[in-house]
Point group: C2
Chain length 399, copies 2
């Protein structure tokens, strides 16, 4: 299949592009380069020494003989260019990662909130608008987030996007209806994924645009079968307070002797997925596009759930480290339950890679190998959800 990967230079986008290419698809990466500019803005860099996009695709060609095309384009801004590209290439499928993807970054300042809303909503809407205008019937595979569901609702096994509810009609008779799960996003970033859902719902109904929305858990791990083929293919590894996902941050902290920083009691339960499963799920979603018609298909892209405190304890045990509890910069419930259905991707062939110490070791190796690149100053959280949380902020003793 001819596939565009929007945001294909990022943490999930790059290994997904390689995985799709390895499986025989004709891949073009469309990326604005903004993720690298945000590194500069924040004064951080990937723990792993990532190469330029040109060097990356050249290394892929050298390693495999396969070609990945690249187009520098900001789909939130360059609508005309997007329609020209779509008309010229007429992709079968479009994987849409082209959104600002950090919750803390989205809450960092008033300007960061605005950027996240403006960029993410316009990127998604421009894509829908351009597909309708060009008449290209590409299946869109969008990376959503488990965070749209919220963590304070009725204790259910989170269904895949839709929920069947009952309520009385005008005569008092109970009626059933399947609705988009009532979202309760916890940050401006998660809010944008919730807004995206409504945009997809509208364009699917009004224009027949085919969309799969993947509500992904928190990703851990770095490398995939494809990114390990050559060091120039290495994936990015973020450990900073904004872009570092929790488990990867713990691993770096443990490796360099920094205390593992748990927000609040650590009783928050979250859903997780290994990066190798991420790329597999993206491919499975793309390759099963024929089953999508009518309303958007929503699948939960997760393999397991864990309490944050348990993760910290596991890492502390395997790697040896202290755990410290800090006041939570996020406005969120301190303790919650979470369980999510992931039947659809399992049925399509998802083969879960579950968290255990052997796999942690792989990431620990990377953390060790590049430990001299760590800037400890960048580990603490520096984004607060609101005034109340900011007033309670602390800096870890080890920081």
């Amino acid at each position: 299949m001819r596939i565009f990967v929007l945001g294909g230079d990022g943490f999930c986008g790059w290994p997904s592009a390689l995985h799709l290419s390895a499986h025989g698809h004709d891949v073009t990466i469309v990326d604005s380069g903004v993720r690298r500019r945000i590194d500069t803005e924040l004064g951080v860099r990937s723990l792993t020494p990532i190469r330029t996009l040109d060097e990356r695709v050249a290394a892929w060609r050298k390693a495999t003989g396969k070609t990945i095309g690249t187009v520098e384009m900001d789909i939130a801004l360059d609508y005309e260019d997007l329609t020209e590209l779509l008309s010229a290439e007429r992709p079968d499928s479009i994987v849409h990662f082209a959104e600002q993807r950090s919750a803390p970054y989205s809450m960092k300042s008033p300007a960061h909130k605005r950027y996240t809303i403006d960029n993410n909503v316009n990127a998604t809407h421009n894509l829908m608008d351009a597909l309708v205008e060009t008449g290209v019937d590409a299946h869109v595979v969008h990376l959503g987030s488990m965070g749209v569901y919220g963590y304070e609702s009725v204790p259910v096994d989170l269904p895949e996007g839709y929920l069947t509810v009952s309520y009385p009609d005008r005569t008092g008779t109970m009626r059933s209806r399947e609705i988009l799960y009532p979202t309760n996003p916890g940050s401006v970033y998660h809010l944008t994924k919730s807004l995206d859902q409504l945009v997809f719902q509208f364009y699917a109904r009004n224009d027949g645009v085919r969309v799969t929305d993947l509500h992904q858990g928190i990703v851990w791990g770095t490398q995939t079968d494809e990114t390990t083929l050559d060091e120039a293919l290495i994936n990015r590894f973020d450990y900073d307070g904004d872009y570092g996902t929790v488990l990867n941050r713990f691993l770096v902290e443990a490796t360099i002797g920094y205390p593992l920083t748990v927000y609040g009691s650590g009783g928050q339960t979250r859903a997780f997925i290994n990066i190798r499963n991420t790329v597999q799920c993206i491919r499975l979603a793309v390759e099963s596009g024929d089953e999508v018609s009518g309303r958007p298909r929503v699948m939960n892209q997760v393999t397991e759930t864990h309490r944050i405190a348990d993760l910290a304890d596991l890492v502390a045990r395997v790697v040896g480290a202290q755990v410290v509890h800090l006041s939570n910069p996020r406005a969120e419930a301190d303790v919650n339950e979470l369980s999510a259905v992931n039947d659809h991707l399992l049925a399509l062939g998802l083969d879960p890679i579950l968290l255990e110490s052997g796999l942690l070791a792989e990431s620990v190796d990377i953390a060790h190998k590049y430990a001299d690149r760590v800037d400890k100053e960048r580990i603490p959280a520096s984004s607060y959800w609101n005034r109340e949380r900011e007033a309670k902020s602390e800096v870890p003793a080890g920081g």
Copy 2:
């Protein structure tokens, strides 16, 4: 109270600003002037000869001795100016009409879809962001739309924003939960009102921003007690295929001997409200701001529902006119039921002005008085919801 009226130069905004001023409030209109520029873009003008905003507020001062301030600002673009204005003036309440408000305009072309999304989402989000940044605890009264609810759902009396639903928890026990009504907006314009709801939900929870969202029906009528005080205060009256609301369009059509154009069977039931009730509801919402804390307050701002075909028949009978049925440019159900709860505004003091021939006469008088300003070419719909609807388009015989 000190009140900002964002979009205070528009069809609902202008008479609302006057009504609030007449009731002793200190009103400042903040408007970008975009609605007048859209008239130019579309090659149309208000049936009524509206004056410039400066002339309008001068006439208000002359007629009543009351001062209304004006600020030219596009809140979707001029965030810094907005924060400065908020910090300097610290309003008690902000009425937010500053959104592109026509469904057909929002569906006119790919660029019009993008403008509506970009403008409306950023206007609303900028306002939330600016209130949080400045710490101004103003109560926001936002004009939503009945159209967010959709017209194809379970036959219920549409509740005021929230719906109590039941569904089984993990153990199979049924649980109840109140959720935002599951929206099913029918155009890009209505989609933005649905996105706004989620933005309000987030900022109310995360930062305590106080919001009232008014889901308004289709407005009919033109003048209010305040706009009739002087001809320079006259309100706009749109009759074109994009901005003309259905009943006002029928009245102009009847007056100039153009057939009343009904889309499809006319079996669509819609909710209506007279412009005099609109301004009353805005004032009631503003003055009851103290009851808003926690989640957004949602009220249905409607007084009655009618089938479109019945409205056409009523106008045809009163004014004398032919009714023609055209294929519907909108992707919507041809027939639907609709009934909405409006208890909250009734309890606050809403005094419904219901549709009857006497009131139609007032609008007919205006249509007659300014009939020489009508451009018949601008009456037909020229925006199609999708390719299928465009392919079926017709031009009315009388057009």
